[in-house]
Every structure is written in structure tokens, then in C-alpha cells.
Symmetry: C2
Subunit: 380 residues, 2 copies
């Protein structure tokens, strides 16, 4: 019941960013004419795509990696006239279904590709993000999800950023052994929820810091359900009694081995008090945009290492076969019920099979940019 | 002509710290009665000992490692009466000469020991620092300098802290190859001067940051003489033109591999601009006591690692044989004229073979705590 491209031309709706700024203002939804499908390319109909903090950073201009701009042929949302817009489509992960394969198109990045395959875009210097209902791609820029058994789109759409970030942070930064303790802030973020679950599976303990909020107990309980060993309010983080009791509770009176920070500022530095000497403090995000201010004795006498983590580096250094391997490992955890997806709220672009008005989607997209819960766009 | 201990009791003059605080106020010089030489110990007459920034930090109470206090029998400097003082003797490196060996004393930490040997104290939990004219030690707490050929006390007294700090920082923190660039601040410090010389010998380039001061050119010239490849004023450190010209000059347009900081604060963070991505920023001191404030993108996108360095860790992890090996390697560089000692001004405790009045030494010691030049105490 999904509408088909008209006149051999592929028309989709896309959330396009023409200039950096406040995401609720600069993300515009357009009907986009992508032209005819070239013989050597593939038409992918989007299924779902999440809104990640890093997407918002990129739109705000505080993310290092810029997307290439390109010219889009769009319908002016008010006049209906065709016009050109220069920008990029937002979104960095999602899943789509192969709708049509050009007669001269090649193989996917991980082998053969067929109509009906679920695919994830892995190469993305073309300005085409995942927040669009249709996209035309080079065949080698997609990875095929080979085994859809027991897998839903909600399992797939967070593989590339959130799940793999958590996976690699636990694997790559410091060697962790059974019983080792990791403390993280922003613990109810997408990556945070996965990190708790991977840690539980691999035998590591987690201390999870979340904001002191009216629904604290509810959020804490949801993290305990995922396998959290301790949950601490950010307002109580520096309390010596809380520190000693929490470390006692997780069986590490000597301190945690790694602290994982996506918040920044003084409140994140309090996590250093939970680290053992020679521990590692990792920053992979900066929700507050405040710097990390480290007194010299923390470096000299406690020998705490402060490092960064950026998943893009791992992706750039590993072949697609390795990406596929990690993703399949994570999907298998979903299949076996060892892993649950993060909590997400869908934002529909269609209703009963018909696309919503552009102005309606614009409203939904704009709202999603400040949504309190994790949001994903649902295209069918 | 050195005065001998009276009545079989060892009397020396010592700079004792009874409470933490301003070094010009809390370092007191006393005539100290060390008692008779026990049969299983060794009497060492001090030759020279420097005043290091870490000594002053320790006295101020901002150094992590505390010295053990002990009771000293001293003469009250005003009344001449014997009284007891609880505290520790300042100073953490120096050289002495073995004056007497108890009949049941054992071997030095690196083998046999004889009267007349030059020795460096390596074990020091007894509250006896190096700022005293005589000391009584366990034999295994001293290392004998085995080959004094072409070696002066000024070569030996900075081995333990300054020279070895510079040596180990270049060897242990990141692997450096020929042509790699290191930037350091506090470059005219003792460790800084050694670092320039080791780097030159081992094929690394150095960019050296010093304060913008009236005698800048003179200090810069002295660093160039040691082998500095570039010298930069702290006030010009962040100037993009200076950065690109300096990196060009040292043949590293892509940036330095390591930044070495003993200053702290915002001015030290400017060194990050000289680092290549994935570079390492090391803090081993904090002259300003200001923290290092790091914006998240420096961690995430530039992947700069911030680490600490504390020589005490290396010493605690390596046997005395390894200490002796490194020191002998450095002494051999002195012998061969490849290395020159740092510039130092002597503060005499004796004049024409007679010890100065305690009050006079007190004045000299107090002045030395704020001396602009590197100072060392000369005991004979």
C-alpha cells in the first residue's frame, strides 16, 4: 500500500538541512524528486530511522564530520512549485528495503542483493542521510541484513550508531575482565542502555548515573531490568557515602576501571572519584557542551588517563565484513532474547499506507528534535 | 677540614619541616644530634643536594606522597638548649660520601660499599631527606656511584629526579621515532633542559615554551645551545601564525606527537594546537596549580589522550639495578660531553671548611625557597 514513484521518477519525502542551527528551525521536510533510477543503482524504500544526539550535534554545527551538501529538486511546500534546495538529508542510521535494482547494479558491500532485502547504508558521502522515505544508492554502499529471523526494524535501526558504540567502547578502550566495573553517565541514552546489557552479558558490572528527575525511580528500575548493578542520581554522585556504598555494592571497593562520559562539565568529573588509580576516563559525547576540567594531581598522582572515543574511527579502520560481523553478533543476541532494543517512540510519516501531508511531517519532525524520549521515524 | 662528629655522636645541620606551609616560613634549620652510629648502619656526609619544585610542593602540602615524620634531637637555635622536634628533613636527591661503615653493616643496594664512595639515597621512608649535612642510613638504602671518572657532584645530584624524569618521559609514554616532535612548557626547568638534550641525542625534535620575560632571548639562546629546535613565548603560543611557522620549522606540519606540561591552566592547553590528531598530552607538574580544561571535541574528534606522569611510579616498579643502569647511562653522557648539567647556583653551608652559623644557613635556605635560579645546597 506504499505509494509508488510516479512517472518513473522517484519522489520521496526528506528532512533536509540547508544551514546549521537550531534543529527545530533548520530541519525542513520537502517532497523531493530524486529523478529516474540509474541503471547502475538501487532504489531503497526506507522503513525506519532514529534521531540520535549525534545527528542533532551535526545539525547544530558542533560535530566535526560534516555531510556533503547536494542540490535537491523539491516542491516548495507552500506554492507547490518545483525549486532547488542545497543541503543534506539528516540521519545516520536506519533500515530500508530494496525496492528495485538497476540492471547494471552490482553487489552489496557484503555480497549479493535482491529486491525485498533489508539493507543498511554504510557509505555516506553523498549527502543522503536516513531521514527520507526513498533513496537511490550505489549497491556497494549498502549492507544486506542476511538473516531476518525474529528481527524487527527496531532491532536493526540502532545497530550502526548506538549498539556498536556501546559494544566497541567495552571492547576497545581498556582490557576488561570478569567483575571489572564501569561507571557511565547518560546511562538511559541509547548507547547507555546497550552498554548495560553488553556489560551484563560479558560479566562486567555497571554503575549508571542519570539525572535527578521526577521519574527517577521508574528510569532506574528500567535500567535495573536491563542488568544495571547500581544507579546513581547525578546530584548525589559526589557524596562520599554514596561513592563508598556504591563501590561496595558492585564489589569494587578499590574503584572502577573505566568511566564513560557523554555529559561533560563538573558533574561528569565526579565520576573520577569512582575510578581506581590508573583508571581510564572516556568521553564520547557532550550533552552539556561543557569542558572537562582536570586538576593536575588527578593526572600525576592518580594516573587517570583521559581519552576520547569516536565510533567513526573504528568504522574507518575496519572493512565492511567486520561491521557485518559485529552487527550479526548483536542481532543474534536479539534473536536469543539476551538483548532488548532501547525504548523508542515512533514518529509516523504515513497513515494507513498514505503519506502524511508534508506540513504534518514537518511538524512531527520538528517536535522530534526536542522530544524527551528517544524518537524514530517510521516510513511505512 | 670538615668538622667531625663530637663525642661519638653524629651532629649535623638539617633543614627540617615540622608542618606544611609556605616553604620560606616552615623550613627550619637546626643542629641535629643523630646519636651514635649503630653497628649495622652507615654514616654519610652530604656533598650537594638541589632544591626541586617537587620538594616545594611537598612542603606546601600539595604533593601526594608524604614523608614520614620522626623525632629529632636538636639544639634550640635561640637558647642552645637541647629539645625535640617532630618533622622530616627536606630534599629528595643529592650525593654524599661514605664516612664510616658500622662493623655489622651490609652491602649497598648495588653491591659492596667502602668509605669514600659517593652514594645516592634510594630508599627514603625514614623521614631523612637530603637537606642535611650528615645522615645515618641503612646500607641497602644507598646506591654507590661506581665510576667517578670525569664526574662532579653537580652531575650526580640531579640524576634521581630531573634527569630521570626527562629520560623516562621520552622513553615510556608514547613510542617516538627519529624526527618525531615533542612540545614542552617550562622548558628551562631542570627536567626541561635534560629533555632537550636527550631528545637531540635520540633524534627527536623539541618545541620549547618559556615565559615571555625580559631575558627571553638569553634563555632561548641557552636552550638552543642545548639543542632546542624551536623556542616559543607563552604569550605567543596560541597565535596561528606562530603555530604553523613553528611546526614548519621543525619539519612536522602535521603536528607534534607529544606535549609535555608542567605548568597547567589555559596557556598549557594551547599546546594541544601543536599536536597531531591522536597525539598525547602529558602532565607531570603544575607550577600554576590551575586545572587543565579540555573541550569534548578535543577528546572525541581529535582523539588526544591526556595522561599523567609520575616518576615515583617508575621507581616503584623497577629494581635498583635498573635505576643504576639508567643513571650510569646518563653519567656516561656527561663523561663523553654529550650532556651538560642544568644551570644551578650553589648555596654554601660551609665557609673555608667551617660550618656557617645556623642562623646564616637558615637565611640562605629560606632565600633559596623563592630563588629565581635553580639552587643546590653545597655542604662542603
Amino acid at each position: 500500500m506504499t505509494p509508488k514513484p510516479e512517472d518513473n521518477c522517484v519522489w520521496g519525502k526528506a528532512a533536509i538541512i540547508s544551514q546549521e542551527g537550531d534543529p527545530t528551525k533548520v530541519v525542513k521536510v520537502y517532497d523531493v524528486n530524486l529523478g529516474e533510477l540509474p541503471q547502475d543503482k538501487i532504489l531503497v524504500r526506507s522503513i525506519s530511522s532514529p534521531v540520535n544526539p549525534s545527528d542533532l550535534s551535526l545539525i547544530r554545527g558542533s560535530y566535526l564530520a560534516k555531510k556533503n551538501n547536494r542540490i535537491f529538486k523539491v516542491k516548495n511546500p507552500e506554492t507547490g512549485e518545483e525549486e532547488e534546495v542545497c543541503g543534506f538529508v539528516g540521519g545516520n542510521e536506519g533500515v530500508g528495503i530494496v525496492e528495485k535494482i538497476g540492471p547494471k547494479a552490482g553487489s552489496a558491500a557484503n555480497g549479493s542483493v535482491s529486491v525485498g532485502d533489508w539493507v543498511v547504508k554504510v557509505k555516506g558521502s553523498d549527502g543522503l542521510g536516513s531521514w527520507m522515505s526513498y533513496t537511490i544508492v550505489d549497491s556497494d554502499s549498502i549492507l544486506v541484513i542476511r538473516n531476518k529471523d525474529k528481527i524487527t526494524p527496531e532491532h536493526v535501526i540502532t545497530l550502526k550508531v548506538n549498539a556498536t558504540t556501546a559494544y566497541r567502547m567495552l571492547k576497545d578502550i581498556v582490557p576488561l575482565s570478569q567483575g571489572d566495573v564501569v561507571i557511565q553517565n547518560g546511562a538511559n541514552s541509547g548507547a547507555g542502555q546497550f552498554l548495560i546489557q553488553f556489560a551484563r552479558m560479558w560479566g562486567f558490572k555497571t554503575i549508571n548515573v542519570i539525572r535527578d528527575r521526577p521519574d527517577f525511580n521508574e528510569v532506574a528500575d528500567s535500567l535495573f531490568e536491563l542488568g544495571a548493578d547500581a544507579v546513581v542520581k547525578d546530584t548525589e554522585l559526589g557524596d562520599p557515602k554514596v561513592i563508598s556504598e556504591t563501590l561496595e555494592k558492585v564489589g569494587a571497593p578499590g574503584g572502577a576501571k573505566m568511566a564513560i562520559n557523554c555529559v561533560g562539565g563538573d558533574v561528569s568529573m565526579l565520576m573520577v572519584k569512582y575510578l581506581s588509580d590508573r583508571g581510564t576516563f572516556v568521553t564520547y559525547g557532550a550533552m552539556t557542551t561543557e569542558p572537562i576540567s582536570v586538576p593536575a594531581p588527578i593526572f600525576i598522582f592518580r594516573n587517570i588517563n583521559f581519552v576520547g572515543f569516536w565510533l567513526a574511527v573504528w568504522y574507518s579502520e575496519n572493512p565492511y565484513s567486520k561491521w557485518a560481523e559485529v552487527w550479526e553478533e548483536i542481532l543474534q543476541m536479539f534473536r536469543e532474547g539476551k538483548l532488548v532494543p532501547q525504548k523508542m517512540v515512533p514518529v509516523p510519516w504515513y497513515c494507513n499506507g498514505s503519506p502524511l501531508e508534508t506540513s504534518k511531517i514537518q511538524q512531527l519532525v520538528t517536535d522530534s528534535m526536542t522530544a524527551k524520549s528517544k524518537v524514530y521515524f517510521k516510513f511505512d
